[in-house]
């Protein structure tokens, strides 16, 4: 194992441990860390769920160079599917799988006509779809409960452990997120990932080298949307009550924004972006109504000076502080 991959592995293990123990009160074990309360843990869980959806957007936007303005709608598809199925007595595992699968299939159906033409067309198609999905969530009361929403969504029992307590649910979501991040990482480092990069950088050349550009675009769009569906299936039991508002078009813009702010095309980008999108409103709570204005201003400054997002910004700062690490090979 090379030194850098050893560093990465150790860092990953350390980060994993921090995530596992972040909400836990460690004072009983003689460590001066009080852990997180119910609300803090809820925010952490929300961050993980948001990061899963953002990973999907990153696959579509950052890795394969397409556009999506419908991730919140896919989250909604996943959330309503999981809620309705679990309320009908179907085990959560199956409901979770069905949520992702349905989002995948809808992604394919949406992508087939849209991907025959230029990429901006996909943006418009997804935008229209986001509005349409939201209208379905709001108006089809018999199915979705309309604006009254669906309440009493139960958290699952996983391998005999009830995830009803907030800490258990956090760990459950953390485990699911880890599996999904691993799957994404695996796909991106496989030959598929290379094909994604190729179709983002130069689709005409990629096509001439045997890369079926249309199929790969469709796959990335559908898989990215499926990540939205999976995230939705976790979101429903997290909040235990769903209504159409978190799946509106404005939220889809937010998912796109967080990936761009975090760092599109970088693996950690969606995690950073989701953290900013979920945590910043909490930290900026004291600014009250100024919050959105400050957020917008920060985003504009970031985009003007570092369009690669926060991940690139951190790498640049690291390069300034540790010049030898960034030295270009001769």
């Amino acid at each position: 194992m090379s030194r850098s991959s050893l560093c990465w592995s150790l860092g990953l293990i350390l980060f994993g441990l921090v995530l596992v123990f972040a909400p836990v009160n460690l004072t009983d074990y003689g460590l001066p860390y009080p852990g997180l309360k119910r609300y803090g843990t809820y925010i952490m869980t929300l961050w993980l769920v948001t990061a899963i959806a953002a990973m999907g957007v990153n696959l579509i936007v950052g890795y394969s160079g397409q556009e999506t303005l419908a991730q919140a709608a896919f989250l909604g598809i996943g959330a309503y599917t999981a809620a309705l199925l679990t309320k009908a007595g179907i085990p959560f595992g199956l409901a979770f799988a069905a949520s992702g699968l349905l989002a995948f299939v809808v992604g394919i159906l949406l992508g087939i006509p849209a991907l025959r033409v230029q990429k901006h067309y996909l943006a418009f198609v997804t935008l229209a779809f986001a509005v349409m999905a939201w209208l379905v969530f709001r108006n089809e009361q018999w199915l979705t409960g309309g604006v009254m929403g669906l309440s009493g969504i139960k958290r699952p029992v996983v391998f005999g452990i009830n995830t009803r307590p907030f800490l258990n649910f956090y760990w459950f979501v953390l485990a699911v997120m880890a599996v999904m991040a691993f799957c994404m990482w695996w796909m991106l480092r496989s030959p598929w990932g290379r094909a994604f990069t190729a179709l983002r950088e130069n689709p005409v050349r990629a096509e001439s080298l045997g890369v079926d550009v249309r199929l790969y675009k469709l796959l990335t769009f559908a898989i990215g949307s499926a990540y939205g569906g999976f995230a939705g299936a976790l979101y429903a039991p997290l909040v235990e009550f769903i209504d159409p508002s978190p799946f509106a078009l404005s939220q889809s813009f937010l998912y796109l924004l967080m990936v761009i702010v975090g760092g599109a095309g970088s693996f950690l980008g969606p995690f950073v972006g989701a953290a900013i999108a979920v945590l910043l409103p909490e930290w900026l709570r004291f600014t009250e109504t100024w919050y959105l204005l400050i957020y917008a201003f920060l985003v504009m400054v970031l985009m003007a000076f570092c369009p690669g997002g926060v991940v690139v910004l951190v790498l640049r700062i690291k390069a300034v502080l540790l010049p030898q690490a960034a030295k270009v090979r001769p």
């Binding site: 030959p191 598929w192 290379r194 130069n202 005409v204 045997g210």
Partner: protein, 252 residues
Amino acid sequence: MTSVLDVKRLSRSFGGLQAVRNVSFDVQEGEILGIIGPNGSGKSTLFNCILGQLVPDEGEVRVDGDVVTGLRPSELNRRGVSRTFQLLQVFPELSVRENLILAAQEHRGSRLKRLFGPRDAGLTPDANRMIEFFRLGHLAEEKAGSLSYGQQKLLDAAMAFMAGPRLVLLDEPAGGVNLTMLANLKERLQAINAETRATFVVIEHNMEFVMSLCTRILVLAEGRLIAAGKPAEIRSNPDVIEAYLGHQANDE
């Protein structure tokens, strides 16, 4: 014996302009065929029609006897037809080796197998051999975008050969390449032609390059095929001198 490439009565127009008019020719295995002609004579349109980038209005294209007209470029590529582009087309963010692996990975196994198989799709040895062959050894790990123009041209050509193609169409391989690199490129192309018996079709403006590389040359003017023959015959053909060489002399 069937030809590797057989083009029959190919035509393509854009609005009122007939870019390619009723062009027919064939190419035998191992041949290096040059296509020359003044700017706007229809060379690139002809290439794009053969390669599936454009659909011809009329006519048909066969590769190894099979009709391939209307196939998409990726399908054509997987049948052993590969190309380079007039303007540089490497993937700047990928390393030289990654560019080469990409150029052949879609020919290896099924798509699902590639997802679960090794990261390099088992192509690192092939890529390394190609890197050595095109003398890019010291640059294997560099990002393609950081290479000089000439080196990128070599990489571009190397990518076209990675999957072991039957037929390679080279669109102005000499364009913008300095003299030393040009000699290198020509010599490598001849070596790979001798080694693999791959068939080449070359569009080129550089007369010296095309006359010394190709075994047979076609001349296009205003979308029509006006001459075909060995380099020496083409050089002395009055129609060609009139349509092309004279033309170019006036340009310069």
